[in-house]
C-alpha cells in the first residue's frame, strides 16, 4: 500500500514583484516534483487574507502549514489555533514576532537587516567611505523596507563620510522609483549626489532611466547598489548601469520542502535555516547572468 | 374682524436674478380659509417657504399669535404650530405610506417605534380623507394623486394652529376635493387658520373667506371673497383690465374634422397584462381626443403604452392606416409623437440643465447625435417659445429647476412643439398652472390642432376636458367604457360615463 500523500498548505503574500513570482514558482515546482499535495493560497498582499487562508488550512486538515508573513506582528491568535489543532508551522522568507517561540517550528529565509548591512558595506568599500547618498525606500511600513533601511544605516554609522541626503519611498515599483529619482535630480543640491541605494532592483531599474534622462551616467556619475538580484539587475550591471546587487534568493523550494518533510516526519530541525545568498557586483555580473532564471 | 393669527410684515426674499418677494404683508386669521392667489412665479410658494423656515428671509418679520417667530426649518415651524403641505409631492418615495404620514412624530416606547400604532394612525388619517390603502406599501407604488392625498393626510394628522396647503388639489378629482374641503371646513370651524394656494378659481370661491393676491413678488392686495368677483380676481392676478379678460374668454371654436384621411394613430385590441385591458381608439389629424376617468383609471398607463414607454403585449397599432410598432420613446419620437408626462419633477424636467437645453433636447434627439442644432438656431427657438407661451424666466440660461412649476410645464410643452409633432400626448398639462397660462396652453392646443396636429389630452377637470376635446374616451378600472363624440362631449355625459351609469350612445372608435 502507498503511503499517504503529504498535504501542505502554503500561504503566499501575493505576486507583487518578479522576485515574489519566482519564489512562488520555485515552491510550486518543488512540490510537484516531490509529489506533495500543495494547497496554495494567494493573499493579495493582505494579512487578513493570509489569516483566513491559514484557518481554512486547519479546516482542510493539512499536515504542515507554511507561509510567508506579510508583516511581522498579528499572528499570535491564529498560530495558537494551529498549534491547538496539532499542525506544525514553517515560516518562509520573513519572520514573525510572537511571545511563544513554540508557535512555529522553524523559519527559512533571508535576513533583511543583513541585506541592508551588506549593501552599505559594499558601498563603503566601493566609495572609500565617502558618499552622498539618495535612498529609494520600499513600501512604507513593510518589513523589508524597515529592516533594509536599518541594516544600511548600521553600516553607514561606521563610515562618517557617508550620509543620506534624500530618502523617499518608491513603493518597490519601477514607476515610482523613476518618478522619485526624477524629483531627486531636480533639487538644487542634486549635483552632490554620488550614490544611490534602492531597497529593491525594480526601483533601481526605474531610477536608472531617470538618471539617464537627466543626462547623467548611471553606474559612473552615480554609484548604484540595490537588493534582490533579479535578472534585469544583472543585465543592467553587464551594461554598466548598475554597480551591485545584494542577492535575496527566492528559490527556496528545495530547502523549504526538505525542512517540511523532516518536520512532518517528526525529525528535529534547526530553528533558523539561512538561504544561500551572495553579493554580486559589476565584475561578477557577466559570469553570473546565464545562471539567472528569474 | 378677528386679530391675525399668523402675520408677515415686509417680507422680502431675493434669489440670484429675481426678487421673489418684495416687502409683502400677509395675514391669516383663525377660523378662516385664506386663499393665496397669483400667476405662476408670483411668489406664493416662496412666501410659504419663508413663513415656514425653508428659506431664510432677507427682510421682514413674522408673528404667530403675539409672538415673533424665527423658524429655521419646517421642523421648527411645525413645533410652533404651522403644518404645511408644500407644492409638488414632497414625501419619501421609498418609505411606506404609514411612515410617510408619521415620520418625525412616531410614537415610541423606550425609544423604540411602535409600528402597529403607526399603521393604525396612518389608516385613520387616510380614512378622514375617505381613503383605504395598504399603508405598508412603499409610497411609489401609488399614483401621484394618491401621494398628494397622503401628504394631506400627513398635514391634518397633527394638531396645529395654522394649516398651509400649497396646491393640494392639483391632482385630485372632485370627490376627493370634496372630502378635503369638508375637512378643511371642519378645521376652520375649530378655529384653525388655513392658507390655501390653488389655480382653480371654483375652489377658491367654494372654500375661501379671504383672498390675498400676489403678482411678480408684489402684494396686490387682500380682499374678502365677496368683494372680489371672479373677473376682478383674474384681472388683479394678471395685472390687466377686466375688459381685456372678458375678451380673452372667447375660445376659438373647434373646427369640424374634414376629409376622410386615415387616423394618425389607431389601435385595436391594444393592451398590456396587469396594466391596461385591450382598448380600441383612433385619433385623427386636427382633433383632440380626451381621456376621461377617475384617478388610477389607467389613463396615464394607456398614454405610456401608446408612446412606447411600456410595451403592449396584445393588439395592433396603425399609423396613417399602415400597421406599425412603437416599442420605445425613440421610436415614438421618430414617428413624430410627443409626450408630456404628468409627473413633471421626476419624468419631465432635466433640473440642472438650462431652459434652453430643456427646450431643444427632443428636437436634438430627433435630428440625431451628429447634427447638433447650431447655437443661433437654439437661441432663436428658445426666444420664439418663450415669447409664444409667455414663459417667465430670467433668461434662456436659467436652470429650469429655478422656474416656477407652471413655467416648467410650458418649457416641456415647448420641447415637444419644437419637434413639430404629428401627435402630442399631454398628460395633465395644466396641472398646477395659473389661469393665464392655462388659457395660453388651451389656446395653443387649439391652434396646433387647427394646423393639423393630433392631440391626446388627459385631464382630471371634466369641464376643461369637455371644452378642449372633440371626442372623449372614458376609462374605468383600466378599461375603455365609453367613447363620446359630437354633442355628447359635455361635462354631464362625461361624469355620467365615468360614474358608470347607462352610458350614452357611444360610437365605436375609428372610421
Amino acid at each position: 500500500q502507498t503511503p499517504k500523500k503529504l498535504v501542505v498548505g502554503f500561504s503566499q503574500i501575493g505576486a507583487e514583484s518578479g522576485w515574489r513570482t519566482a519564489n512562488t514558482d520555485s515552491i510550486k515546482a518543488e512540490a510537484a516534483k516531490r509529489g506533495i499535495d500543495l494547497k496554495f493560497a494567494d493573499a493579495q498582499q493582505k494579512q487578513e487574507n493570509q489569516i483566513k487562508a491559514l484557518r481554512s488550512f486547519i479546516a482542510q486538515g493539512v499536515d504542515v502549514i507554511a507561509f510567508s508573513p506579510v508583516v511581522e506582528t498579528g499572528w499570535e491568535p491564529v498560530l495558537r489555533e494551529i498549534k491547538a489543532a496539532g499542525i506544525p508551522v514553517v515560516l518562509s522568507d520573513r519572520a514573525v514576532k510572537v511571545s511563544d517561540p513554540s508557535l512555529f517550528v522553524t523559519i527559512i529565509g533571508s535576513d533583511f537587516v543583513e541585506e541592508g548591512r551588506r549593501a552599505g558595506e559594499w558601498l563603503a568599500r566601493k566609495t572609500g567611505g565617502k558618499a552622498v547618498i539618495a535612498e529609494l525606500v520600499g513600501t512604507p511600513g513593510s518589513a523589508p523596507a524597515i529592516d533594509r533601511k536599518k541594516g544600511f544605516e548600521e553600516a553607514l554609522a561606521k563610515n562618517p563620510g557617508m550620509k543620506i541626503v534624500k530618502s523617499q519611498s518608491g513603493n518597490f515599483t519601477r514607476a515610482e522609483g523613476k518618478q522619485v529619482m526624477e524629483a531627486f535630480l531636480k533639487a538644487p543640491d542634486a549635483k552632490d549626489i554620488t550614490a544611490l541605494f534602492a531597497h529593491n532592483d525594480d526601483m533601481a531599474l526605474g531610477a536608472i532611466q531617470a538618471i539617464e534622462e537627466a543626462g547623467l551616467k548611471p553606474g559612473k556619475d552615480i554609484v548604484i547598489v540595490s537588493i534582490d538580484g533579479v535578472k534585469g539587475a544583472f543585465e543592467a550591471m553587464v551594461a554598466g548601469k548598475l554597480n551591485c546587487t545584494v542577492e535575496c534568493n527566492p528559490q527556496i523550494g528545495p530547502q523549504l520542502f526538505d525542512l517540511i518533510e523532516k518536520v512532518a516526519a517528526g525529525q528535529k530541525v534547526p530553528a533558523r535555516v539561512a538561504v544561500k545568498e551572495g553579493v554580486f557586483d559589476e565584475t561578477q555580473a557577466a559570469a553570473e547572468l546565464p545562471h539567472r532564471t528569474y | 374682524m378677528s386679530e391675525p393669527l399668523l402675520e408677515a410684515r415686509g417680507l422680502t426674499k431675493r434669489f440670484p436674478g429675481v426678487v421673489a418677494l418684495n416687502a409683502v404683508n400677509f395675514a391669516a386669521r383663525a377660523g378662516e380659509v385664506h386663499a393665496l392667489m397669483g400667476e405662476n412665479g408670483a411668489g406664493k410658494s416662496t412666501l410659504i417657504k419663508c413663513l415656514t423656515g425653508v428659506y431664510p428671509r432677507d427682510e421682514g418679520e413674522v408673528t404667530l399669535g403675539s409672538r415673533v417667530i424665527h423658524p429655521r426649518s419646517p421642523r421648527e415651524a411645525e413645533a410652533a404650530g404651522i403644518s404645511t403641505v408644500y407644492q409638488e409631492v414632497n414625501l419619501i418615495p421609498d418609505l411606506s405610506v404609514a411612515e410617510n404620514i408619521c415620520l418625525g412624530r412616531q410614537s415610541t416606547t423606550f425609544g423604540l417605534l411602535r409600528w402597529g400604532a403607526m399603521r393604525t394612525r396612518a389608516r385613520a388619517a387616510l380614512a378622514r380623507l375617505g381613503l383605504t390603502l395598504d399603508v405598508s406599501l412603499p409610497l411609489t407604488s401609488y399614483s401621484i394623486a394618491i401621494q398628494q392625498l397622503v401628504a394631506l393626510a400627513r398635514a391634518i394628522d397633527v394638531a396645529a394652529k395654522v394649516l398651509i396647503l400649497d396646491e393640494p388639489t392639483s391632482s385630485l378629482d372632485e370627490r376627493e376635493v370634496a372630502e378635503l374641503f369638508a375637512i378643511v371646513r371642519r378645521l376652520r370651524d375649530e378655529g384653525m387658520a388655513v392658507i390655501f394656494v390653488t389655480h382653480f378659481l371654483d375652489q377658491v370661491y367654494e372654500i375661501a373667506d379671504r383672498i390675498t393676491v400676489l403678482r411678480n413678488g408684489q402684494l396686490i392686495g387682500e380682499f374678502p371673497v365677496a368683494a372680489l368677483p371672479r373677473l376682478q380676481l383674474v384681472a388683479r392676478m394678471m395685472g390687466r383690465d377686466v375688459k381685456e379678460i372678458e375678451a380673452m374668454d372667447h375660445r376659438p371654436a373647434a373646427a369640424p374634422r374634414s376629409g376622410e384621411a386615415p387616423p394618425v394613430l389607431a389601435v385595436r385590441g391594444f393592451g398590456r397584462r396587469a396594466s391596461v385591458k385591450p382598448v380600441e381608439l383612433a385619433v385623427h389629424a386636427g382633433e383632440v381626443l380626451g381621456f376621461a376617468g377617475l384617478l388610477g383609471s389607467g389613463r396615464t398607463e394607456l398614454a405610456r403604452l401608446l408612446f412606447g414607454i411600456d410595451q403592449a403585449d396584445c393588439g395592433t397599432l396603425e399609423i396613417d392606416g399602415r400597421p406599425a410598432t412603437v416599442r420605445s420613446p425613440q421610436a415614438a419620437l421618430a414617428r413624430r409623437f410627443g409626450f408630456t408626462p404628468e409627473d413633471r419633477k421626476t419624468a419631465g424636467i432635466l433640473p440642472n440643465l438650462t431652459v434652453r437645453e430643456n427646450l431643444i433636447v427632443a428636437l436634438q434627439v430627433r435630428r440625431g447625435l451628429w447634427k447638433r442644432i447650431p447655437r443661433v438656431e437654439q437661441d432663436a427657438l428658445v426666444a420664439k417659445f418663450v415669447a409664444a407661451l409667455g414663459i417667465k424666466t430670467s433668461g434662456p440660461e436659467q436652470l429650469i429647476k429655478n422656474l416656477s412649476g407652471g413655467n416648467q410645464q410650458k418649457v416641456i410643452l415647448s420641447r415637444w412643439l419644437a419637434t413639430e409633432p404629428r401627435l402630442l400626448i399631454l398628460d395633465e398639462p395644466t396641472r398646477g398652472i395659473d389661469v393665464g397660462a392655462q388659457a395660453d396652453i388651451e389656446r395653443l392646443i387649439a391652434k396646433f390642432r387647427d394646423e393639423g396636429l393630433a392631440v391626446i389630452f388627459i385631464c382630471s377637470e371634466t369641464a376643461e376636458l369637455a371644452r378642449n376635446s372633440q371626442r372623449i374616451l372614458v376609462l374605468r378600472d383600466r378599461a375603455k367604457v365609453a367613447e363620446l363624440s359630437g354633442a355628447a362631449v359635455c361635462e354631464e355625459s362625461i361624469i355620467h360615463a365615468i360614474a358608470g351609469g347607462a352610458s350614452p350612445p357611444a360610437g365605436p372608435a375609428g372610421p
Binding site: 507583487e16 519601477r174 524629483a183 531636480k186 | 408626462p341 437645453e357
Partner: protein
C-alpha cells in the same frame, strides 16, 4: 529659460483666472495657482527649467509628463461620471493595456504599431464590458466596474504570466518618454485627446445627451433619448482613455508591470474630475476642470517629492489639500462668508 517659462506660466494662470472668474473652473484653478505660488516661494528648484538633451527639463515638465496618465483617465472618467456613473476599473485596464503591449511586442514579436492597436482594442473591449454591465444589465456602476477592477489586474498578470516584461523599442519608448518641440510627447497626446473629446461632446449633441442622462435618466428616456447607448459609449470611451494611459505608463518605464500599473489611479482620476467641478451625481461636466484637477494632484505629488515629505505621512498634506479645495469650491461656504461680509457692509452703510 528659467525665468521666461515660469513667467509665461504665471501670465497664463492669471489670464485663466480672470477669464474663468464666473465659471466652475475658477476654484480648482485658484487652488492650483496657490499651490504653485507656495512652491515658487518655498520650494527651491521647483520652477527651475533648463534645456537639457535638446528638450525642456525641470519639475514643471515632469508634472506635465507624469500627470498625463491621470489627465487621460480623467477625460474618460468625466464622461462616465457625467452620466451618473463611475468607473473603478480604469487602473486595471491600464495594466491590461500595458500587458498586451509588452506581451504582443516582446512575446509574440508583433510590430510596435500592431501591438499598440491590440492594446487599445482590448481596452475598448474592457470598456464595452463595463458598458454592458451598467447600461444593458443595469448593475450599479460601482459594483459593475468593481468586477473588472479586481479581475482585470488578474487578466493583465495572466497575459504577462506574472512577469515584468521589458522592452527597448524606440517607438514604444517614445510614447511615454519622447519629446516633441521640446515638450513631452504625452502633452501632445493629452491635448489631442482633450481637443477630440471637446469636439466630440460640444460640436455634436453627445455632450448634451450625456448631461441629460446624468441629470435625469427617466426624463431623458421619455424624450426619446437613447440613454443606454449614451451610457455604453461613455464606458467604452473611458476604456479607450485608460488604454492610452496604460500605454503611456508602460512606455514611461519601458516595461509592463501588471501588478502596479495604474494601481489606485482610479481614485486620482475620480478626484481630478470632481475637483474639476463635475458632480458625482452626474449632469454637467467640465473637461477643462478635470484637466486642472489632474494637474493639481500631480503638482501636489511632485511638491511632496521635492520637499522630501516622507511617503508614509504624505497622505496628510494630500488630505489637507483635498479638503481645502473642497472648501474653496463650496458655494455654501462662500454664501456664508458673503452673508457675513454683506451683513457688515449693510450695517456700516446704515
Amino acid at each position: 529659460m528659467s525665468v521666461v517659462l515660469p513667467l509665461v506660466l504665471w501670465i497664463a494662470l492669471a489670464a485663466g483666472l480672470c477669464f474663468s472668474r464666473r465659471s466652475v473652473v475658477f476654484w480648482p484653478l485658484l487652488a492650483l495657482a496657490l499651490l504653485l505660488l507656495f512652491n515658487q516661494l518655498f520650494t527651491p528648484g521647483f520652477f527651475h527649467v533648463e534645456i537639457r538633451g535638446g528638450h525642456l527639463y525641470g519639475t514643471l515638465i515632469d508634472i506635465l509628463n507624469q500627470g498625463a496618465k491621470v489627465m487621460l483617465l480623467a477625460l474618460g472618467m468625466t464622461l462616465v461620471i457625467a452620466t451618473g456613473g463611475v468607473d473603478l476599473s480604469v487602473g486595471a485596464i491600464m495594466a491590461i493595456a500595458g500587458a498586451v503591449l509588452a506581451q504582443r511586442f516582446v512575446g509574440a514579436g508583433w510590430s510596435p504599431g500592431l501591438a499598440i492597436v491590440a492594446a487599445l482594442a482590448l481596452s475598448v473591449v474592457a470598456g464595452a464590458w463595463n458598458g454592458l454591465l451598467v447600461a444593458v444589465l443595469r448593475i450599479q456602476p460601482i459594483v459593475a466596474t468593481l468586477i473588472l477592477m479586481v479581475a482585470g489586474r488578474g487578466i493583465a498578470q495572466l497575459i504577462t504570466d506574472g512577469q515584468i516584461i521589458t522592452f527597448e523599442n524606440p517607438t514604444l519608448v517614445y510614447l511615454g518618454n519622447g519629446f516633441l518641440l521640446g515638450l513631452p510627447f504625452t502633452l501632445t497626446l493629452v491635448l489631442v485627446m482633450l481637443a477630440l473629446t471637446a469636439v466630440l461632446t460640444r460640436r455634436t449633441a453627445l455632450g448634451l445627451f450625456v448631461e441629460a442622462v446624468g441629470d435625469n435618466e427617466t426624463a431623458s428616456h421619455f424624450t426619446g433619448l437613447p440613454a443606454r447607448q449614451v451610457k455604453f459609449l461613455a464606458y467604452v470611451f473611458a476604456g479607450f482613455c485608460a488604454g492610452l494611459a496604460g500605454l503611456v505608463a508602460a512606455s514611461n518605464i519601458k516595461c509592463a508591470d501588471s501588478n502596479h500599473a495604474g494601481l489606485y489611479l482610479e481614485l486620482d482620476a475620480i478626484l481630478a474630475v470632481v475637483i474639476g467641478g463635475t458632480a458625482l451625481t452626474g449632469g454637467r461636466f467640465y473637461l477643462a476642470g478635470s484637466m486642472i484637477g489632474a494637474l493639481l494632484i500631480q503638482t501636489l505629488t511632485q511638491t511632496l517629492y521635492m520637499r522630501n515629505v516622507s511617503a508614509d505621512i504624505a497622505p496628510v498634506p494630500k488630505a489637507i489639500v483635498i479638503l481645502a479645495v473642497c472648501l474653496l469650491q463650496s458655494p455654501k461656504l462662500r454664501e456664508r462668508l458673503a452673508r457675513l461680509g454683506g451683513g457688515r457692509k449693510r450695517r456700516a452703510g446704515a
